[in-house]
Symmetry: C2
Subunit: 394 residues, 2 copies
Amino acid sequence: MLTIPRRHFLVAVAGTAGASALSRSANPAWAQDEGPLPEVVDWKDPDSTIVHTEFTVETERGAIGTSGITSKDVLYLRNNLPSPDEDRVADRDSWEVSIEGVREPRSITVGELKDLGVETVATVLQCSGNGRGFFDHDTSGSQWLTGAAGNLLWSGVPVRNVVDALGGLEDGRNFMTSTGGETLPEGIDAKQVVVERSVPVDHAVEHAILAWEMNGEPVPRAHGGPLRVIVPGYYGINNVKYVKRVSFTEEESDAAIMRTGYRVRPVGVDGAPDQPSMWEMKVKSWVTRPLAEAGTGRVQIHGVAFGGFNALDSVEVSTDGGDNWQQARLLGPDLGRFSWRPFVLSAELEPGTYTVTSRATDAEGTVQEEVTAPNHRGYDYSGWRALAVDVTVV
Amino acid sequence: MLTIPRRHFLVAVAGTAGASALSRSANPAWAQDEGPLPEVVDWKDPDSTIVHTEFTVETERGAIGTSGITSKDVLYLRNNLPSPDEDRVADRDSWEVSIEGVREPRSITVGELKDLGVETVATVLQCSGNGRGFFDHDTSGSQWLTGAAGNLLWSGVPVRNVVDALGGLEDGRNFMTSTGGETLPEGIDAKQVVVERSVPVDHAVEHAILAWEMNGEPVPRAHGGPLRVIVPGYYGINNVKYVKRVSFTEEESDAAIMRTGYRVRPVGVDGAPDQPSMWEMKVKSWVTRPLAEAGTGRVQIHGVAFGGFNALDSVEVSTDGGDNWQQARLLGPDLGRFSWRPFVLSAELEPGTYTVTSRATDAEGTVQEEVTAPNHRGYDYSGWRALAVDVTVV
C-alpha cells in the first residue's frame, strides 16, 4: 500500500507542475525503494520496510501496529558509518568501553557492566530526519516520512551506577560524550566522520543506560550491539552504537557530527555550535491505520503518540483535516515517560473522503504543532497538518 | 552453557545409580537437543533454543533477558499438530472465523474483526508441561525445564466486542469453545486430534482477545497467525492457534484434548472430565542469571516472575537454598496483571557454591510453592526448591 502525503497528493492532482513535483519528491520513499535490504539487516521484513540507501531503511507507515513495541524486523535503520563486521558480536561480554572523566577512569567490559546493575526502559528511537519528506524546501538526506522511528525496550546498566562504581564524576563535567566504535574510513580526518555525541550530564546521569539488550535479546549488530548508549527522550543520533568510550567532559565534543552536524538553523545557514543541537524530542503523533481506504461504518483509526522529552498526556484525532477533534483512547500498558503509546479512535464514517490526522499533548501541556517551520536540514517534521492521510470510505 | 537442575546434579554425583538417572533424564533438554530447528521456526536463534521434537522447541534458561518481553526468536514452540502451510498467512485479513452461540452467528474475517475494536495486553504464554523435567516420576512428553514460557504483547479485538456486535450471547452459555484450524490427519477420528478447548465464558468475555498481532508484527504462523485466541492468565493450550471457530457453548467440548487431555490427576490415573482442567496458571518465578558461575563480589541475580491468574505482588531471592530470603527489585514497566516481570537482586558473594532460587507472591498473597506434588502428566512444576541453580563463585 502506498501512502502519499496529503500535501503531495494535492500537488500531484494540480496539473503538470504538480505531476512533476510528484515524480521528484511526492513519494520519495517509493521512488527510493529500489535496492534490496542491506546485508546487515537482510533479516528485516522487505514488505514492511522502505530501502532508501545502504545506511537508511524506513518502516512502512502501516507496519507499525498497536502492540506498543516495534519489532526489530520492521525497525528503521540509520547508520552514519558502515556497521562493524559480525565478529564484533561474537563475544559480546568481552567488548570494552573506556569510562573517562570519572575519579577512577578505566576500561570496563560488558561482562563487568552486567554486575554493576540493570534497568529496563522503553524509549522512542527516532532519527532527527524523521519526517524530512514532509518539508516543502529542498533538503539533502533520506526523505523519511513517518518511519524513521520505533519504540523499544532496552536493558542495561544505568550510567549513574557506572559513575558511582568509578568514584564519581570529576569536577566541572557538563556533558556525557560517547564515541561509537565504527571503523573509520582511511584518508579522512577522524573528527569529520567519527560518531561522537555529547549530551547534558544531568540528564545522562539521571536517565541514560548502557544497553546490551533490546526487546528481549542481545542488541542486534545493526542497532548498536554489543553495547549502545540509550539517552531516553533524545533523538536517535545521541544513542551511540558500538560505544567504545563514554567520557564526562567539560565541553561538547569537537567532532563535526556534534559541532556543526545535527544543528537546527534556518534554511541556507551553515551549522555552528551556538545553534540548538538535536537533543530533546518533540511531542508528536501520527495515524497508522487506515491509510488509504476503509469500509463504511465503524472504522478503527490507529496511530502512535509520544511526548518526546516529556511524558505523553493525551491524543486527539480529526477526520476533517483539523476542524474538529475527538479524544482517542490510549492502548495497552503504559511503558513510561519516554515510550510511545498506541491509540485508537472508533469512528462512524459514511462514504466519502476524509482527511485523518492526530494531535498529541504532552504532560506539560504542549500540543503537537500544526506546521513545522522549515529548517536547513529538514529535521523532525512534526506538524499534524502534513502528517494527515486522505482516506476514502467506500 | 548447560544448566543441570540441582536435584539432578545431586543425583548425578551420588554414584552409579545416579549416573544412570543422569543419562536417562538429568538433562533431558541436552539429551534431546539433537535435530535442527523445525522448518516452521527455522528463523529462531539456534543458540537460544533447545529442540525437543519437531513440535516442541524450548527457550534456553539463560536466553530470557530483562526486557520484560520475549523475542519471537527465542520464544518456545509447542504445536499439537503440524502448522498450516505458508499460504495460510498469505492473505491474513481474509481468514474467516465462525462465531457461534451468539444471537446473530456468522463467519467473520480478520479484516472485519479489525473494525470491531482493538486492545493490547501482555500475557505469559506457558505450556502446561513447562517444568516437566523437574518431576521425579516418569512422565511422557517433552521434558521441558523452565523454557516453555514467554511473555508477549498481543493486539486484537476483545471477545466481548465480537459478542456485542453479534447480538450478545445465547442463553445458558457457560464456555467459550475455540477450534484450531490445523489440517487434521486422515484416518483418525477428528475428536481424538482436533485442538478444541473450552474456557469459562465469564473470564473469556472479560479478558480474552482474538489476536492478529504479537510483539508489534502479525502473529507468526508458528505461533498461531493469522488469528489466535488469547486467554490471559490461562495455560498455553487454551490460546488456540489458527482459530477457525469460536463457539459459546453450554458444555465443555467433547474433543479428547478437552475431555481427557490436560486434566490434572494422580500418577497412574486416566484423564477424565471431572478432574481440573489446565486453565488458570499458578504463581511462579525462576532465576535466569547467573546459572553456573559468577565472579566474586557484587553479582546481579536476574529472573522472571508472574502471578499466573492473579497479578504479581513481589519476589524474593535466596542464595542459600531457601534458608534466607531477600526482596528482589522489579524491573522495567509494569505490563499488567497477566504479564511477567523481570526482577533483580544485587548480592555480594564470596567464593563458594550457592544454591540460588526465587519465590514469587501474587496479589492474593499466594506464595510460590516449595515443591510441586506429582501429577500424572507432569504439568507445571513450579516448586522453588527444584527450580534452584547451583552457582559457583570464583
